[in-house]
């Protein structure tokens, strides 16, 4: 009987914790520089909306030949013959990224693209390789597709991503 009463009071405290967390989560979001919209939009919808600010064209779809594996990417990295872009959130880029890579996060594409545009235009005739977390992440494909829509010709996706890079013991920049 005492155990049931204990569990009951624990459950009440847990419910209080749920409500406090809910209020805290919404409050913190309101204080963010770019608060999340309360209605969810898929990555494709968000990027399309951002692209619409830049150009009046839908994002291009990539095919498998637009992806490169670890060995080809390492060659580009070591020769410095291409521009490397990190499509993950800026917070994860700040935690660690491929040396020399520039941050072009999918979730802040329009603003970041505008800031990076002079650099991107200087590399218009060189390979531009985009990566994200690795595995089945979509950010790199979406950003690469957006760059193709914007007229950049040789855009590739490093399919192994950050996970593949670190798994192979390659250097990291912070």
């Amino acid at each position: 009987m005492k155990t049931i009463s204990t569990m009951g009071s624990d459950l009440v405290n847990t419910l209080v914790l749920v409500f406090v967390s809910f209020a805290l989560g919404l409050g913190i979001n309101r204080m963010r520089v770019a608060p999340l919209s309360m209605t969810y939009q898929s990555p494709e919808q968000r990027l399309s909306a951002e692209l619409a600010q830049l150009i009046a064209a839908p994002p291009m779809q990539l095919n498998s030949s637009d992806s490169i594996g670890f060995n080809r990417f390492r060659t580009i990295f070591q020769s410095g013959s291409g521009l490397i872009l990190d499509a993950r959130d800026k917070a994860f880029y700040d935690q660690g990224h491929i040396p020399g890579a520039l941050s072009l996060p999918r979730d802040d594409f329009a603003a970041s693209y505008k800031a990076l545009r002079p650099t991107l235009d200087r590399h218009r005739d060189q390979p531009i390789v985009v990566y994200c977390s690795g595995g089945d992440c979509h950010d790199s494909r979406l950003v690469a597709g957006a760059l193709m829509s914007l007229g950049y010709g040789e855009v590739r996706v490093f399919s192994d991503g950050w996970q593949g890079w670190t798994d192979n013991g390659m250097p990291e920049a912070h």
């Binding site: 749920v18 979001n29 969810y40 939009q41």
Partner: protein, 146 residues
């Protein structure tokens, strides 16, 4: 209740509390990425995805802190247990439906197969249930040491 029971409770609380603080912190770094992870499960309507994605990181951090620090430890352990049960059900349901999901449990970097994630979460669930039972049956520190 004996000293070794209190020691087990303390070690498990530090481990579970620390794990949840870390998990909540990694989720709070990328709320949009976490919302995308929740959406990939195709369980919640679009109106609930963002509020829940914003609430889970503080929930995990607060629950972890309660368990770690020891104030309202049982409530924190119950919160962790209920959360883990929900996560296991969500991953299991996604596996049954053949969905390609990223659980976002420790941030967006996760190359674990859903089956491995489910096993990991089931292990944490078992640990949290056991720790909660131990916390209910173990009196406070001072009384236990007397």
């Amino acid at each position: 209740m004996k000293l070794h029971n209190w020691l087990i409770l303390w070690v498990m609380s530090v481990a579970l509390g620390g794990l949840f603080i870390y998990a909540g912190w990694t989720k709070s770094l990328g709320p949009q990425a976490f919302a995308d992870s929740i959406a990939s499960f195709k369980i919640l309507p679009a109106e609930l995805i963002v509020p829940i994605a914003l609430s889970i990181p503080p929930f995990e951090i607060l629950a972890g802190l309660l368990v770690f620090v020891g104030w309202q430890r049982r409530a924190g352990l119950l919160a962790i247990t209920l959360a883990m049960a929900v996560y296991c059900l969500a991953i299991g349901s996604a596996m049954v439906r053949g969905l390609d999901v990223n659980c976002g449990c420790f941030g967006p970097v996760s190359n674990l197969r859903p089956g491995v994630e489910l096993l990991r979460d089931l292990l944490i669930l078992v640990c949290s249930v056991a720790t909660y039972v131990l916390a209910v049956t173990t009196p406070g520190r001072i009384r236990s040491l007397q």
